[in-house]
């Protein structure tokens, strides 16, 4: 889901690092040592991680919207409760990740400002609309499913706080995927209209989910350093292939058709092979022209703005209370 960050070019000036320290740092990465906040790290490592972790955090936060769209219309109380707790988990993921990013010396406020100003990106998948209830199934099954593929290797990321946040997150993501699959399963075995709803959702989400892994390897700005530094372990295409190989049998089990007439099993490679991905769509959505890019940002800004007076009040109250305590302490002396 969040691999996109690594495919963006780092435009900051290259800092000449102390070769001795750099060598020692790289040896630690190779030895699968965890790098901790107080350890020395190259500037580019720090910047790459801040960019990736914050993009991941922003994705969790913006990702609350497409599912939030169905909370008040969930078709049973059980589903409503599961959906609401899933969205709540995503908010929690955002929190862990912002905290992990803060250990690298950037504040949550700065990061949030970067999101609101459009400077920081979030995963493009959340710029698609959730048009029916089946999208709650497809999002859990496919979007969270793709996120897991990306995130499991991150549990072994060289940066300790990020790796530890990912371990917690991955546990919850697998519950998210299961509930999504269960929604799809119920719909696929349900009435004719429900099955059609499930198929329609798969039709709309399949290709965008394949794009979640980022551009094909030969087109992406290569991330050899990320690999060497144990931030990234698999290429975009490798992860995408893992995802396809896992999802095709699941779709068949559901009795749903993958919307790809060219999909076939390659006996030689042992992998499922898809038709060509329309990368022009990916670039269009990334550039801001997806169905919901503007809406997602507008809603996020609105929520931020409406919270200003509340956050101000909390700050003012905390200051008043601290002043009162201090005054009481002085009076007691």
């Amino acid at each position: 889901m969040y691999a996109q960050a690594l495919d963006q070019k780092d435009r900051s000036p290259v800092i000449a690092e102390d070769p001795v320290r750099l060598e020692r740092f790289e040896a630690r990465c190779t030895a699968e040592d965890k790098i901790e906040p107080k350890d020395w790290m190259p500037d580019a490592y720090r910047r790459t991680l801040i960019r990736q972790i914050s993009q991941h955090a922003h994705s969790e936060i913006i990702g609350m919207q497409p599912e939030g769209n169905w909370v008040t219309r969930a078709p049973s109380l059980r589903r409503k409760s599961i959906l609401l707790s899933k969205i709540q988990d995503e908010a929690g993921h955002g929190l862990y990740l912002y905290s992990a990013a803060e250990t690298l010396g950037v504040s949550r406020e700065e990061l949030s400002e970067q999101l609101l100003s459009g400077k920081a990106k979030y995963s493009s998948i959340f710029n698609y609309s959730t048009l029916t209830w089946a999208d709650m199934g497809a999002v859990g099954w496919l979007v969270d499913g793709a996120a897991i593929m990306n995130q499991i290797p991150l549990c072994r990321c060289s940066y300790g706080p990020y790796a530890r946040a990912m371990i917690r997150i991955c546990k919850e993501e697998s519950f998210h995927q299961r509930q999504g699959f269960e929604i799809m399963h119920t719909l696929a075995k349900g009435t004719v209209a429900q099955k059609a709803m499930a198929q329609d959702a798969l039709n709309r989400w399949w290709w965008p989910c394949l794009m979640m892994f980022g551009p094909p390897d030969q087109a992406s700005q290569h991330s050899d350093t990320s690999m060497r530094w144990k931030i990234k372990r698999f290429s975009n295409d490798e992860l995408r292939q893992k995802f396809i190989d896992a999802m095709v049998p699941q779709a068949r089990f559901l009795g749903l058709d993958i919307p790809d007439p060219e999909l076939r099993f390659n006996e030689e490679s042992g992998h499922w092979q898809t038709g060509a991905i329309d990368w022009s769509e990916f670039r269009r959505v990334l550039a801001g022209d997806g169905p919901c890019n503007r809406q997602r940002m507008r809603v996020r800004r609105q929520a931020e703005d409406e919270g200003i007076w509340v956050r101000d009040a909390a700050r003012a109250f905390a200051a008043k209370r601290a002043a009162r305590r201090q005054a009481a302490a002085i009076a007691a002396e």
Binding site: L77, R78, S81, A91, G190, E306, D312, A316, F317
Partner: protein, 256 residues
């Protein structure tokens, strides 16, 4: 009419009152998902919504069993119209700003916490078990909302104004808490449900110090709006249910 059947009708009606209030209020809280003033508070609002959905499910499930006509929690939640709902009017009022939400939560929890505490001693063991779980949740909501009302009331000039306004807006729905419907009268006499009148003192005892600490003017809670317990609602409930029920009703008999 035999006595047992009469009590069962009352039990059904009472379980609906509890369940509907929890359901409708949880719906309003769930409207905050993704819109909380901070991430931490977004999570807390969802927590409270989830507690209330949980309570609603237990109560509606029990109502359906007592009624004995095969209606489950979803049939009761999704296939009744507003005039069959028995929730307190305060629950259906629009989400409003964060001050409205917190003041409403304070009032609701301030009433329901002692209500459930008393219901734990009910002669009906199912209600007593539901109450034991719900009482703890309401105590948490009361504490959480109380802390926020104090922060907002004693925060900035703007937060103070907004919170006082919220207080005055929500205060008119408080008197309904302490009205005694015929159902509640009979169940109280039978030792099954608390007498709402007896809950007034604990309510005021927990609310008043909070409002004072928040530097807010305590409203009188006299007069106001009634009718929710008897199915007479305001303009908002029908729309709320319209949204909540739209998908379920579009696919009669479907499983989700």
């Amino acid at each position: 009419m035999d006595v047992v059947a009469a009590i069962e009708d009352d039990l059904f009606a009472y379980a609906l009152m509890l369940g509907d209030s929890a359901l409708v209020l949880s719906h309003r809280l769930s409207e905050w998902s993704g819109f909380g003033p901070t991430l931490e508070e977004d999570i807390a609002l969802s927590n409270m919504a989830l507690d209330l959905i949980g309570q609603a499910r237990l109560c509606l499930d029990y109502a359906g069993k007592v009624e004995g006509r095969g209606r489950d929690e979803d049939a009761l939640a999704y296939l009744r119209d507003d005039n069959d709902y028995r929730n307190l009017l305060i629950c259906e009022q629009p989400r409003g700003d964060f001050a409205v939400t917190m003041v409403r939560q304070l009032f609701y929890a301030g009433f329901m916490q002692p209500c459930f505490a008393s219901l734990m001693a009910s002669r009906d063991s199912t209600l007593a078990a539901i109450a034991a779980k719900a009482e703890k949740e309401m105590a948490y909501h009361l504490r959480h909302a109380g802390e926020w009302v104090i922060r907002l009331g004693d925060g900035t000039a703007e937060s103070h104004t907004r919170t006082q306004r919220a207080l005055d807006e929500m205060a008119i729905y408080v008197a309904e808490f302490f009205t005694v419907s015929a159902v509640e009268r009979r169940l109280a006499d039978a030792g099954i449900a608390p007498d709402p009148l007896a809950l007034r003192a604990p309510f005021e005892n927990s609310i008043t110090p909070i409002l004072k600490e928040a530097t807010l003017i305590v409203p009188s809670f006299a007069g106001g709006q009634y009718g929710g317990k008897n199915g007479r609602h305001g303009e908002h409930l029908s729309r709320l249910l319209g949204e909540m029920q739209v998908l379920h009703r579009a696919h009669p008999g479907a499983t989700w």
